[in-house]
Amino acid sequence: MKVRKGTYVLIKTAMFLLVSGILLTSYELLALSAFPILLLLTPTFPVRISVESHDLDGGGYVGEEFRVSIELSAKGFGVVKVMHKIPEHFELTGGSNAVARFVVGSATLKIEYSAIPTKRGNYSLDKLVVQVENPFLTGKLFVREVEVPISIEVKQRIPKILKIGVHRGIAKSPTPEVDISKIGVPGTDFREIREYIAGDPVKFINWKASARKNDILVNQYEVEGKKSIWIFLDANPYMRYGETIRNYFEAAVEAANALSYYYTQKGYRVGLYLVGYRRYLYPDTGRRQFRRIGDELIKIEPSDHPESLDEAIENSKSLLITYKPLIYFITRLEYSRPIRAVLRASRFSRKMRRTPVEVISLSYDEETEELSRLALKTLKKSVESRLKASGIRTIDWEIHKPLSQVLMKEVLFA
């Protein structure tokens, strides 16, 4: 147990007087040595804390400010300090998440602050740390936690992609966009209910839903012949590199989010494989699928169990053969060296036609010219050129630049 400063000072004073009193056989000094000790006898009285009200307003996206206000009532005697625990990725922008008050009888404590989340995730802000001590700041320090039901879901803002470039290479139609007729024959797979647009067949009107909403709603079905997108998101430990807020992994998640949003909006089936977790989401369409992918991406962190891209291809082989999708790899080329995996993935199609594969290569432009950095750069370039030689398109994305800008550049280039 650490002796608190107040206790230390009082004991030191008492000891000085006591020792001097004993040495000098002085009654006065001996009697006075009890003065500080009497103050030490002051106990820490219990203080009861209860949450009266709480409120969380705003937030929801990375970089969007939110406000928290909590009102507490305290009953007892002593110095009360209350701190609302916030995660390390939150940045206080106003007010204070901790409050201290001298409580005599009863008092109301109010915590009001605003903060900005700097990283996506589901955060639970349900802990209030309460410290109670006596007014002399001596004696025992009572620390306990009080629950307050506050939580916040922080999503990443999805960068709006206007267009993804059509790559004309060995494959006949590598990007599914060109394969799809938006007015194709609707199949029997139900996709979603949407508002009626002039020209929709009357037979698709969902009468029950329309009656409930007092608006004309139609059922939308999957269009036949639709292609699929399969995103391999590299969540291996090497993706952790970078700043806490902006690192390779955060950029990879952003890219996965943006691609899945872009393609689900356009009506494609989108599937996701999390490399490092050996887990995937079956390809599906619509907003529901985007939400599912978003939910998965919101809580994911780099894995501690490495998995090669080759293994990932092997694990999802059957699905790749079935769907023959456009495959996106989002990775760091210098670490994952995905040549074998990419070539394997591109051969799941029929003879003479290759499954379209694209690699989004993440890079982080640092000004340092260390030897290791140069070595990695060289390695990356070598992998890139080998991929290019194999007819695989590689999109180099410097993670501090906007993704849409990079993809648009590709469109212009194409």
Partner: protein, 227 residues
Amino acid sequence: MNNQIQEQKKRLRVLIKDRGLYLMFGPLINLLLAEFAAYQALYAFFKSPFVVVGSKYFALGLLYPVVIAVPLLLLILRRNPFSFGFFYFLIFLSIGNILAKSELFYAFLDALYVLNFGDLASYLNSIFSSSKHIFILDLLLNIVWLFVLSQLIWISMEKGREMEERGMAARNLVIFQWGFAFISTYLIFLLYPAIFGFSIAVDNIPLIFTGIAGIAIFITSALVLSR
């Protein structure tokens, strides 16, 4: 010029409003307490037998400005004006009258006799034994009370500053703590003579009991500090 004044005013407003008045008043209150305690110690000193011995060789009147300047100097150096060192010094100043009643001191005089310093021993004995009746407990109690109060004020001020630096809203907390510290120490100060019955203690309790009590407190304190 006007801008400078405005800026000064703004700074002062920020200091008062944002950083708390206590940061300004804490050291000043401690300075006052230290000065008052210094005055008490000097008063005790000038009643002690040291004056008889010292006045032969030194101009003891100079001690007043010197002692009173120490807390000011500490304040200028941004340290606690009533530090432990200064407290030890004040107790040392008041020690003359304590020595006059100390068994240890008379044992020391006996030793001087044995070591053939009989003249010096009898000279000291004549000076000190005449001060046996001087009672300085009230002055010592003042010094101890003021010191303990100043320490409590200083600790709560430092804690308040630490809390503000960590971004904790602690408005008026320190002022309340000071008020509570003052009331409780003042109550103890008032009741102290009644609780400990000094006159009885001084005259009637055999030395052995105080010794035992002292050792018991010493061991308890050592145990508490070692944990």
